[in-house]
Symmetry: C2
């Protein structure tokens, strides 16, 4: 059994925690968004890869959803003596990951290889694949101008209206080694409950990925990141509205209909099922809020069954 998950950050990480209760971690491949990667004081930061890695390693700070539990910020606080550019809150332990990754990249390793090295050292069994080894920085167009993703997301606290999401240069990027194979060879493909534009949308924009998924549509399920019109976490709901899409599970379904055959929606959204079916998708109604281990496990089971048809 091989399961491939398209993954952003926190929602995907929690979903994967459930999935590895249901299938052995070694059977799971996560194709992870790197559109929100940044170079911060010369260090290569891969926030979504790290959120997933720390979560699966049992190190994640559950309160924030990012960073390492119990981490300290002595380095960043001292860095503020030298620079005003300390808005990206990297803890001391988190920095170790970024320092080691940057060193591996500088020595000529790909982000794929560096991710293998890091996640193996933390005992993560799931295979984590960056969507691409080329930098593909997501840009957010706002009324105040174009922002990098982390400027929008962290520095400015997602307060700007999102008018467009761009992936400049992505037409020249290639899927990282293993990505297309993980899609082609999977017994089940699951789109995690992540932001459809800036987490999943960036993965889909890598040339070849969306087409590969379309060819596996019958084995592909998605879990809605929107419940009762709202995002469980993050700005997906406001982003849907400002980008002209209905802020609902139905709205997300319209973005995925060409490559997803089964859409998993929350019980609170059961009334949307018929409209989603009209898009040509099957619908599974389930409890999708992941509060604890048992709920994560239950959702993973539902999504896996949905993808396997």
């Amino acid at each position: 059994m091989r399961v491939t998950v398209l993954a952003g950050g926190v929602g995907a990480a929690r979903f994967l925690q459930g999935l590895v209760q249901v299938v052995p971690p070694e059977c799971v491949t996560a194709i992870v968004n790197t559109g929100d990667d940044l170079v911060f004081h010369g260090l290569h930061v891969s926030p979504d890869l790290d959120i997933i890695m720390y979560t699966l390693a049992g190190l994640i700070n559950d309160q924030t959803g990012w960073g390492i539990a119990g981490d300290t910020f002595a380095c960043l606080d001292f860095l503020s003596r030298y620079s005003d550019d300390t808005w990206f809150r990297l803890g001391d332990r988190d920095l170790a990951t970024c320092i080691h990754r940057t060193g591996l990249l500088q020595s000529g390793q790909s982000l794929t290889d560096a991710t293998v090295a890091l996640s193996q050292r933390l005992g993560v069994g799931v295979r984590l694949l960056p969507m691409s080894n080329e930098p593909v920085p997501t840009q957010i167009v706002t009324p105040d101008g174009v922002l990098s993703f982390q400027e929008y997301f962290v520095k400015r606290g997602q307060r700007d209206e999102v008018r467009e999401v761009h992936f400049p240069g992505i037409e020249h990027a290639r899927p990282a080694p293993g990505v297309l194979g993980a899609i082609a060879e999977a017994d089940a493909i699951i789109v995690a409950p992540s932001n459809p534009f800036v987490s999943i949308g960036s993965i889909l924009a890598v040339p070849g990925v969306r087409q590969a998924l379309r060819e596996r549509r019958e084995r592909t399920a998605a879990v809605s990141p929107i419940i009762d019109g709202s995002a469980v976490k993050g700005p997906a709901d406001r982003m849907l509205r400002s980008l002209g899409v209905e802020s609902s599970a139905y709205g997300v379904a319209t973005l995925y209909q060409d490559f997803v055959s089964t859409f998993v929606i929350d019980e609170q959204d059961a009334a949307l099922a018929d409209r989603i079916r009209e898009l040509g998708m099957k619908v599974v109604v389930a409890q999708t809020i992941m509060r604890g281990p048992s709920e994560k496990r239950a959702l993973a089971t539902v999504a896996l069954d949905a993808a396997r048809g």
Copy 2:
């Protein structure tokens, strides 16, 4: 009044603490050894520059002589999950300095410019000049092979016999901007009580520096780093012996006689004065052990008077 100091690490830093009690910091230029710089996990570390900078900023860890007082090691401890290469003990705050320096260098700044930026932010009034902007890594030849300076000094705890000290490629290095001017224009030049081979010797080996000092011999004094045959700190005494030089203030004087006119030795070494005078140097006998602020101030006064003739 312009005072220029040739400086290594701890001994020089303590000497400079005294000097800035006697002359305004703005009048002091320290030409600092960079032969012990290293790239550690992709970060540019300049141990001697940082020891001096932290000392003059009042941040130094007085117990160790290096690093920042109260610093923590969360990053390095976490880095040990990824790498066995964590023998160079950079604290979390210390790392901030290295991260910022590396970023400045990567953005195209010289080490000179980066050092100005860092030291200004920490409120250091003394002008700190790296001896060269080109990397000039000191090599230590031991019975077990050739080591980088920090491998010898930190990783292997100075336990190896030093057979030779090399500065490979230094013939192609240039003095950093300001170095030759600081020698030519100084009213007083003082060689700090630092290791004559790996701290002062590397500075002297930068093309043009030793000749510039010779031309200012009458204004140049040195403080012996050896007292009663022993180094106050570090391996200078053993290094003198293994390199075939007498381990004494006299032995150091023989290394400096061509560019130092006045040698400051400790009261315990008064009996060596006549032998040193035979080298063509004047001798000042003083209390040279720097325990507290008043002793540092007194030694600075003595050395300054010695250099001004």
